[in-house]
Structure formats: structure tokens, C-alpha cells
Amino acid sequence: MPIDRPPWYAQPLLGLAATLFAAPLLLLVLASLKPPEQLVEDPYALWPRQWQGSNYPRAVSSMPVTRYLRNSLILAAGSVAGSLLSCSLAAYGFARLRWAGRNLLFGVLIATLLLPWHVTMIPRFLLLRELHLYNTLAALILPTFLGDAFFIFLLRQFFRTIPEELSEAARLDGLSEWGIYWRIILPLSRPALATVALFQFIASWNDFSGPLLYLSDPRHFPLAYGLEQFISSYADQTHLLLAAAVLFTLPIVVLFLVAQKVFLQGITTTGLKG
């Protein structure tokens, strides 16, 4: 069929676009392996004059990486647990139960997706400060236990695809709604839950504005924020900065390569079935 035949310029065009998209990351990795003098004397060289792997251990030892990493992992793990629990509960309420006011509240939930965070930023900050959460990781983790509109929407879309007969049968067997949620719906929803866990992990790992607002003590800094401190104090040590950026990105790239399918499906469901 002629409509399936790609145009003759397909491969060259794709190749060009792929080069442009991949080049920044490749250049970053190459530069992170250059000796520092080369970056200054010959900034345009693509290839390292000599492979200087020692940039990496030096970047690591020039900041308290273990502590930052521990904070990042606590933050990410806590937030993933919070989002999975609170969002799956709410999604079950919206997708699998019929009750007065459900559609109204769901409309409210969707409307909050359009609300820019600036409008609520200041009162939210002051509220969490009143609760003595300022300068604790809890200020960033606790809100995830109170649901996220985007994830609730994503899970609700998935829960709705599970046949209602399963719930009916379970109800006849005397299972409570909680039992149906916990023993039937959740186990059947592993792919969707994996998507939420993955997106939340990345959001927490990458989050910069949260720590900027809520954390002041370096003991609590996660990597994303620690790296920024590094930027301002090592402005002249480009080689270390680039190496640190590579190390910080690496887990996310690995995660993407391992869980590519989860990513692609998650983004497609939320975008298309709106």
C-alpha cells in the first residue's frame, strides 16, 4: 500500500533530528571526561585530549554526596508511597463507587489541574511553616499523602477499564469496598500504579523549587538542590560541574531505559483519553 511507504528522505531527516537531540547529552558526557585545562584552552574540541575519569570521584568528593543522595532517596521513597496510597484511594472513590456529588467533586479535581501553583504557593508555604514543617523533608513528603489531581486522573482512567462484574461478584461474596480495593483492584492495576510510582519518583528526584522554598539547612538538601549550591560555589570548575550533572542524570536515564514501556503508556493515556 503506498500510504505505508516512508518518503525517500525519511532516514536522513530522522538521522539529522536524532543527532540534534542526542548531541547535547553526548557533548556533556565527552566534556565531563576532559582535563580542566582543555575546557579553557580549547573549548571547541569535541574529543578529550586525554580521558580524565578522575573528574568523577573529584566531583563526588567536593560535596557531601552521601547525605544529599540519602535525602533524595528518602524524599523520593516517601513521596512515591504517599502518592500511591492517596491517589489510588481517591481514584477508587471516583471510578468504582456511585455516590451523590461524585461527578461534581471530580470536576473540581480536574479544575485544579488548570490552577497555576503560584496562586497557592504563599499561603501553602505559611501553612506548612505554621505546622513546624519548614526546613524538614516532611514539608515536601506529607502533601503527597493528600493526593495529586494528575495521578488521580490517571489511575481513575485505568480503574474504569476493569470489568464491573469482578466487583459485583466480590460484593456477593461479602467483600467490603476496602477489600475490593485492596485485594482486587490494586493487584489488577499494577501497570498504572507503576506509572504513578515512576512519575512521582522522577518528579521528586528532579524537584528544585520545593527544596528551594522549604529547606534552608544543608543537612536536609536533596541532590537536585545540592547540585545548585555546587553551581554557585564552583562556577570556575566546569569539568566537575559537568561530571556532577552527568551523575545526577544517570539514574533517570537508566530508569527510562529499563521502564520505557511504562513511560510511553503513562503519557499516552493521560494525554489522549482526556
Binding site: P2, P6, L85, L114, H118, L227, L264, T268
Partner: protein
Amino acid sequence: MRRRRLLTGLAFVSPWLLGFALLVAWPFAASLYWSFCEYDLLTPPRLVGTRNYQRIVREVGGGGPLGQALWNTAYYALVSVPLSIALGIGLATMLSWKVRGQAVYRALFFLPSVVPVVASSVLWIWLLDPRSGLVNRGLNLLGLPAQNWFKGPTEALAPPGWLEFGSKDALVLMSLWGVGNFMLIYLAALGEIPRQLHEAAALDGAGRWQRFRHVSLPMLTPVIFFNLVMGLIQSFQAFTQVYLVSEGTGEPAGATMLLSLRLFLTAFQDLEMGYASAIAWLLFVVLLLATAALFRSSRHWVHYSGGGR
């Protein structure tokens, strides 16, 4: 029975409901109230009527820093959103071609969108350095003039002219690199277009471009609309990369001072919570009007196939 069902439903959504009340509804109301107050955190908020809003009008009208921030934000949104739509559709179309290495290309185009903003900012500040950056080097090799991307000292003296690029264009470039999310949604939408439509058009003698223009593009309009609305909201909220490229100063010459950064500095550096709340509401109202206009216009150009969705 009805009552029990209601209570069960509410019990399941209660974590979200609590979060909505504490972290959305109350803050929403409080910031509206505070936008009519003077509030420096040390003393309780004091009502001052519309003084904060008068100050906004004065600063915007007089071309003050806030006016510049508003202009910068509008520029960033108006340039980055349409370009990201064009690029997203272009890449998705290329990925829909059945060629070897399709999956690799898809991964390569998508990957930059998951690179942490802190890391991608470091990367682009280095690449776009006006003196030693590799992007300017690449432009030179192609016979094109070098540009004053980030921290170009002359950008402070003379703003970039027509077809000259400055710091805001650098921010646009960074956002385009992360177009992968929307690209995937376009790709999925292209895959859902019924084959018969393309076949019928081909039988009628439509070429590749005509099929794209008259079959694919109309079928993509719902996604384009979604992209416009979400892209607009995202570009108005862009903060991390804006903060990082200038270390929170908006330099050079306020060129990267976007509303979100101005708001942050007003609140947490100047401790003017009342004025900052008014700026937040200005941002919210501008965004609301723009979104409403998009929704109104959508009737004329968004094509929903098969009636109900």
C-alpha cells in the same frame, strides 16, 4: 443505602479532599485576601484596599521591572508554545514512518524530556555560553553569526534585534529540547487515525503533504488544543530553569526575569507577601483569560471525530 454509599465514597476520596481544602481551596482564598493586604510576615496582614493592584498598574504602565517580567513571560509563552507544537507534530510524523530503528529514534527524541532540569540547565548554560559555547561554534561553522545567548554582556546594553537571539530564546530552545512528552501524545493520536481515511485520500490522488494537511492535521486538532492549554500553563509556571540560568537574578538586564521569578523574589526576598499575592492573581487572571479565549475559539477549529468523547 444512599447515605452509606455517600459516606463510603467520601471516605475513599477523603485524603484528596483534605488536601484540596488545606493545600488548594484555603490557599486560593487566602492569597486573594492577602492581595488586598500589606503583609511582611512579622506583623499580621493589614487591609490596604486595592493599593497592591494600583502598584501593579503603575509598574506595568511605567515600564518598570514588573512590566518587563510580564512582557518576558508573554514572549516566552508565545514563542515556545507554537514552536513546541510544530516540533512535536513534526517529530511524531517522522516517528510514524515505518523505517528501521523507529524505536531508537523515539527513545532519543523522548529522553531529553526526562533529564532533570537542574542538569539540563547546567548543560545548556555551558553549551550556549556566548564566548566559548559549542552552539555558537556550530553556528560559525555554518557561516551564521554567533548569538548572545545566556549572560551575553552586550544584551544588557542592546536587546537582540530581529533575527538575533538572546536569553529568552535560549530558554525557548531548552523547552524545545524537552518536547518529548507532547510528541508521544501526537504519535499516539496519529496511530488512532482510521486507516481508511488515508487510503480514501490516497485513492483520490492526494499526495503525502495533502494527506497530512487534510487528514492528519484535522484529526490532531484535539491534541493540539490540549497542548496549547497545557503548554500555556506550563510556560507561565516555568521557574526552575529560569531561576537557574541567572542564579535567581533575572540577568542579563532582566531579560530572563519571568513573572514566576519576580513573584518568588517579591515574596521570599522582599517579604512583601501582599504584593506578591497580587502578582500571583495577576498571573492567574491573565492565564484564565487566555485559557477561556482558547476554549471559545476551539469550537471553530477543533475537530472531534465520531461525535461524543
